[in-house]
Amino acid sequence: MLDQGAHGMFGYYIDLALRSFRRNKALTALMVLAIGLGIGASMTTLTVMRLLSGDPLPERSGRLFYPQVDPKPAEPHELPGQMTYIDAMNLWRAQRADRQAIMVGSNVKVKAAETGAKPMGLHTLATTADFFPMFGVPFIHGGPWTAADDAGKARVAVLSRSAYERLFRGRDGIGQPIRLGRWAFRVVGVIEDWRPAPHFYDLDREAYGQGDDVFIPFLTSRDLAELGITGYSLDCYGNTTDDIHLENQPCLWLKFWVELDSPAKVHAYRRFLDNYSHEQQAQGRFTYAGVPHVALPGMMQWLDQNGVVPADARLKAWIAFGFLLVCLMNTTGLLLAKFLQRGAEISVRRALGASRRQVFFQCLVEAAMVGVAGGVLGLVLAGAGLWGIRQTPADYADLAHLDATMFATTFVLSIAASFVAGLLPAWRACHIAPAIQLKTL
């Protein structure tokens, strides 16, 4: 019965709220503006901060790990951040993880197949077939190459959308050849331009720069060593005799990522790395004695260790959250002040027969309306703010888009703050005996 009454009164409450807004146009506008500005600015900031310090693959990062082993001589040093060919191949061939991929990139001269085509220097990644499913890279045409292509050193390539458009200019290129250096490769797939930010799988590239444009099988790139795909950070720790054929050189140059789908598998893989190091020590390849130098950091831990989440990015995240807090407190304060003034009006309504519950509900409707109006204005302002960011020349600028979850969170927070601000005076108002308040009028 009461509920029915309450719902039936909903339109009336909205009408009451609108009257109250109209009575105080400037102040209502001010409240909505304060909420809107707060939501808009904090969402813009949070979006950028998330781009700059965030998780590049939120759905997968928990399952991705970066194994480290130590082939260097015994003198004290940090655990290497890259692998030698021998270690990477051993771990890759062992297939102990759910998925695993070797990767190494370079700038390579790429041309369309027809004669007279101009070469372009494209970021090329030599990797293995698991790369695409492991990182969830989205394909728009064709698909990845297979494990058989890896083993067979097939001359196949996957292109990014923009490289595909530049090389084929709207023609269908699947199955067609392109040239890398002197060699012809067959295009088997095209991915959406994929730019994880930061560029987690190879941190020796600019961390927030462009993605890779061409992907070829790793063993093929070894077969065609003159392509010169030896990474952006070749680190040799002994005397070397060749800087192109790195298979047997004491050089760290390969990245190796694994996917491990459960904590038990992570544990097992860590043991596998220990055993592997013991084996290599026994063979005399790893020259240090004692406990194996191995590590298996998760993706976010790896990014953190490498300082890709810069110290002041956290400070900035704090700043953005603090700003949101300031805005929410501001809203709460303003709404509180507005409602606390209404004791008299509420008493009149109570005296005329409104129930506590109805008074309560009326206050909440009014608070929610302010919250929603502020939220909508905030949405508009955040859209404008992010549009502004996209006009700046920063590396991450074109990634600055409104995030649905983030918007929802902020919006819910702002309405919740309005509710809290509405609740307290409503509660207070409906617990004062009408007669006492009326006497003071």
Binding site: L30, L33, A34, T45, G121, K316, W318, V326, T392
Partner: protein, 402 residues
Amino acid sequence: MQLRHVLAALPRHKLICLLVVVEIAVAFAILCNAIFVIRERVGQMQIDTGIAENRLIYVHNDGVGEESHAPLVERNLLALRGLAGVESAVAMFPLPLENTSINFRPWLTPDMKLRGPAVGMFVGTPGYLDTLGLRIVQGRDFNDAEYDGMDQTLKTLSPAVIVTRDLADKLWPGQNPIGKKFWRSPSRGYTVVGVVERLVRGYLRKDFVPEYSAMFPVKPVSFVSALYVMRVAPSDRDRLVRESSELLLKLNPDMLIDAKGSYADMRADYFRQDTSLVWLLALVCLAMLLVTALGIAGLANFWVQQRRRSIGIRRAIGATRGDILHYFQTENFLIVSFGIALGMALAFALNLLLMQHYELPRLPLYYLPVGALALWVLGQLAVLGPALRAAAVPPVVATRSA
């Protein structure tokens, strides 16, 4: 007198006062820390690279070359020097803040026991120190015979090296660095022949000292075929960027030029991310101050409305307009002051926390009074409108019912 009235009235709006105090405290903490970050960034962006920045232009090609192309570098350099206005031209790697860099850690003894800090490697063809405008402060420049090849791991064959003063002071504190040696592998030792004042490496990293750079001499080899650097008069820069890239394309039809411009542009490009972050933070601070001011103005307005009658009574029993005005200004000053006091504690706690976990420097103490002043001024400006309105309330209101 006034203060007592204000203090007596404050507890009547406990909750709202508390909210405003906390809001101002958080705003203050954020303001101090944000300005701190901005100043750190701006300081970094003003770093002196040590080279003649406004006289340099560059052409960068994609650099995928074979050793057989090396003689072409010599030919290209000769042609570039022939352009009217080009004072000198060299091929080198890298330019300071080019966003690429090769780093090595020198061994200070041939038995590879003692190792120095990470050093940025520079290599270039004859005359590159001059072209960059580097000043030798001790020892000498490379002589012609010292410009030699490189091995497969990008170590120069010539044993001569020139270091920056900061690096010399770090490796051999208090000693004459000329004639001192370091090793990059057991078979590759280098002897210091000269010291330059300053040269900043290819990119900046928190764990690298920017000024630790070492310069090596090379003759034109494929490794340095990617970056041509020319010294020109500042007014000729745009013209010569265009003319030099056209010339290189004419000489090398297959060359893919992926970047060219003045050094000033390259430097601005290196910092563009920082620039946009600084702007973003500055705008956030502004927005926050605006929101805070709107909040204070809004609340003051409510309070003035609420107290119209008591203001009228005070006016009726002798308070002047000025008294009323001052009343609201004092009230605002008190609330903001409480906020600032709490904010100082908060700002310091935040800074301490960040220092502990992320090795951020300590917030300089002078930020606190400056931030406090900013918020006091902001508070007074925000309350001025409502306070004036309050002062305008006529005494006759006292005789009317609310």
